[in-house]
Symmetry: D2
Subunit: 372 residues, 4 copies
């Protein structure tokens, strides 16, 4: 692989769904990016034609970046984004499908946070701290498109709760071989539901033990991400869904009154007997590094997984902003009396769980030469 | 068993730790009781000698009951409680051991909410909706005491998070035979930690994924409660800790920003193959009735387990006060891809999880003739 | 005035907006009412035709009352409510105006919680603990209607934050004569905004120092409620808006992360010099009784104003349910260095601040003979 | 005044109460300071002798700075701090008095966040964005000490809720002349009470309308800060407590479930008639600049007062971290029907309301030549 250094370059990017929660986070993060430069903003027809600062109800704790304050919002049509090399999509699932497909057909590289294409057998579902190798599917995606494409593609990142757990699971498989089963209980922040999202009457002094579609996503996406790519006799590649070593995953998803940061209690069973000890697991997690960091992605965390030693960490309020939320925290690694090992994961759902992953994926795409 | 009807009787009771969180709840519940009448209140030397309304920082949402407002608080010494037939203890673990033992030796029947005697091989650990049969140990407890006792005994109820989960587990074992393993993740209310308890800075907009000693309690108490009593060749009884069908339990305990009501995500595996279906489980849970209700305990819930059909229930704020918190709510019964069945449990930690269970245990003791 | 005793009677009532937040509270309260019996439920066309339990997303902490579970929801058209003697409206302001007018024209007595008719010069704005004398306007409202009415009328209760403060202000004016000015800062619960209402992302760990239109309502409604009714030379009555003793009111309204119960910090200046002492104010507040209680309204609180002596009360979580939220709590009565006296008010915004006041108004209407 | 440029210098500082809430914040802020370098840490005897990372329960959202991780904590005795030019005190009031006096007598410059010396007629109470001119009292403080001092002095900053309101009040007096009266209602964050501070059971879903001693502090400190220094016939200086234009202040203080950021609703009356318009007030607030910024203090905010135009700002969660919490936010400037003008203030209680003010005061002291 030839690595493409982006230093000194300036790469124009667009943001779709720019007024929404994820869109705002994209803009906040991109405003300080070393080479991505926001060039176009897309939103609904209602916002189009307005200056961004007029169109948005800004809900971030940092002010609206100067570069976008007066930028005129466009409708989400490819013709307004043709100068962009990269398009980040924070669109809602209701509209993301058609729009993202149109952008791809217009030869744009789309990095989507929406769920619409995650199950597409040609679209990589990439958690940049885990399976950068799935970029290998892009060539086939372009080739099989109708009409075939030269530059356009769609690449998605995972659901926020999947992202949190898949990073330590990948680290464990790398160190100790395949996992056999995994039980996960999540405690997910309200920001995961967007804005207006969860009504306050539903969550103050309360838990909602259900998030529509979330458990299925976690149980399915994890297999695609942790699995490999196989090539058939016809030369066609496909995602193997971890099928060489079947992995059973059971998720229970809860909404909790936390603003940011998904906490997940995880128990795993390894195929290998005897399983590793808690101390071996701790060391393997701490030692895990991502390709994204190794290849020099500027948004990649130094500590892919930060392993806490204190008995009561990680905690969302204290740990979600470590490394700007670009890594994952793990704590309480200990034996499980039913499976083998259990631990607690914390991931910032709006950073590594959403916008930061998309940006990291785009950085990887640049480095790997997929962005022209 | 000869049943003893308490109707028309008036049974004098004392409350130890009367100014604390559990003590306040005891007093609120007992104020409206059909036959238990508060006769004496015990607290620390600092409170002794004061009228209760002066000694207490009352934190209940209902006013201080009139019957105790002017009652003079005593030190926790048996001599002040000799007219009581029943003593409820809401004492902290730091002092509960010695005081409760002294009260027992003074021939008082002590119903304790503290953990000190839970592991004592002669002390029943009774969740009144589950294992009323463990009263059978009281005779031996008295006989082996030094000196042997005629009336005195100690009986404990379980930890609040254990109580929540053990009720549906008992219902499942009753219907489908022994369980093999169980993974539990709790989301526990702040009231479970007493007052002042959890500092607000630790829990507003936060989760603390650790509660000291809690996981061990859940893993251990469950075995004692769900197990039976065996009799040795020497005629001595002992708790069998579910040893005839070893049951592995793994608990992960979290503190969440909820005032009242512990929510628990539970996955179970049955010994029996094939396991029951979700619908069979739902029916078994709904059909489960406790001895406490069958025997006419006035504080027993009509619905021992209320089974929710809505996708997003139970929720602590909406469901914790159903039946005054004396029952348990279960929802989201569905298949687990790793074990067999998973579901959500909600139990009011300060009602059935604490004071209500002690009172129910005392009601059972009256009915079963253990209170003279 | 001839008093009409409702005892033994059964008065059929309807509820408009029955699936909304206020409608649900109406239903919860009416389910246990001694003589009002729910006879018809109205909601939007989307809900019409469904059983109530199917149409509603029930958000109360008590279960759906049996009497309405299977009741078929109607559209909000008078023809479906003609058997009702009283109609309670929990409609949103967007639709309340036309519907309530139509119901009045159909000779129905409408007790509205909406703001639409509050400023109407013929419609009484009644806080039942304060200005039951404003019923006197009903005759003129009927007479001037086009066409004139025999039985129909509209009567509104006040905004929830107005209701809280106007009760102690009325008590003070009754005891010490007119007030001159009043500065109020509110801390209002999220339930005041209905459902879905305030997004959780806006209010967890936050304060929103603005509620649209609320300050104007408080400054205006208070004058109508505390003012009298004057009769012109033409025999026509009008509300005098406290104009005989101009009263300046300044309100600052804030939304806080509290579920139920509006807390308000109030400073007042009396016309009378010297002003009363804090102790005199305390006594006057505690001694204040409402007509509603004196006349035997079953929903009226025994203590119209409960005066707390503790330094740190009232608190919404501890005090909002006292007397089922039908009264008002006041605490911290002390001197103000700028005006004369300051104190803290707590009122349950969904009970006395909304549904309970409407029901009390209807009870007053029955007793005063306005319901045939 | 000769200004002393600190650039290029390295000034050794100590932190007293280093393991407490304020102490932790001092350390976080000082870790990135351009010339203050942490040289010694003081805490209770229990912590002394331990490495800081072992002694502290770190509750900040950023990690423990490397410079202090292994630094050995000392007892709070002057002999361990003699190499420091500046000592910051985050001590609790119970111990601050004696320790700070001892440090002053050891010729150390003490910048205290405690309340003990605030009312001392020789100790400046300085909000660095307001009354840097009160440094003028230091000379007399040294001269009248027993024994007289050459370098040692004590300087305090204000209570966190006072600091928030006094900045805009100072701006208004500067622009429009003396104020006559001011009514303030605060909604104060839990972090203002330190750790463990407010029990969660007292504040989740609740308001506590009382903070012991807080209202008196606000009413008193404001006069000292906004007042001037007068010189008597004997040449002795004294703080005039705003006595040339008596100013009446009335505060109502509430604790709310917000982690950081005190929100305050303020109404003011000007001596000058007619009073300024809301627009004039807005402009005066926005134009106000502090000496601290003008003199180049590195921790001074560029916008001393940020004036929000949106109807619903400032909000603590969104605005408390603007400029790292070193400035003050004001919004909703509008007419008051009782006094003249009302507005909302937000100040970060742990930044400008505590540690940041102490550090700014020390920066001012360096620039003004009081630190040798």
């Amino acid at each position: 692989m030839t690595l493409h250094n982006a230093e000194g370059r300036e790469i124009k990017v667009g943001v779709l769904g720019a007024t929404g929660t994820v869109g705002q986070r994209f803009i906040s993060l991109l405003a300080g990016h070393p080479y991505f430069v926001i060039h176009a903003l897309g939103a609904s027809a209602r916002s189009a034609g307005k200056a961004y600062s007029q169109a948005v109800v800004w809900k971030q704790t940092s002010p609206i970046p100067h570069i976008v304050r007066e930028m005129v919002v466009q409708e989400c049509k490819p013709e307004f984004f043709l100068e962009c090399s990269v398009v980040f999509s924070g669109l809602d699932a209701e509209v993301a499908g058609d729009i993202e497909a149109a952008f791809r057909n217009a030869e744009l590289a789309v990095f989507s946070n929406a769920k619409n294409f995650r199950r597409d057998p040609l679209v990589p579902l990439i958690v940049p701290l885990v399976n950068g190798n799935h970029f290998a599917m892009i060539h086939q995606q372009r080739a099989l498109n109708n009409p075939p494409l030269k530059k356009g593609f769609i690449l998605t990142n995972a659901n926020c709760s999947t992202t949190g757990v898949v990073v330590p699971l990948a680290a464990l498989e790398k160190a100790f071989g395949p996992l056999e089963s995994c039980i996960i209980t999540t405690m997910q922040a309200i920001s995961g539901a967007g804005y207006p999202g969860v009504p306050s009457l539903d969550i103050v002094d309360n838990i909602v033990p259900y998030i529509s579609g979330e458990e299925e996503k976690m149980e399915w996406e994890t297999l695609k991400i942790l699995g490999g790519i196989t090539e058939g006799d016809d030369g066609l590649k496909s995602f193997d869904m971890h099928s060489r070593h079947p992995l059973r995953i059971s998720a229970s998803c809860n909404r909790v009154p936390v603003i940011e940061g998904h906490t997940e209690c995880v128990s795993v069973r390894f195929a290998r007997r005897p399983p590793p000890s808690p101390q071996q697991v701790r060391e393997a997690l701490a030692a895990y590094t991502s390709d994204a960091y190794a290849l020099g992605c500027p948004s990649a965390p130094r500590h892919t997984i930060f392993v806490h030693e204190e008995a009561d960490r990680p905690q969302p309020r204290l740990d979600r902003d470590y490394q700007k939320g670009s890594g994952v925290s793990v704590g309480r690694v200990r034996q499980c009396r039913v499976l083998d090992i259990k631990f607690v994961v914390l991931a910032n759902n709006v950073a590594i769980g959403a916008a930061t992953s998309s940006i990291l994926n785009a950085e990887l795409a640049v480095i790997k030469g997929h962005i022209n």
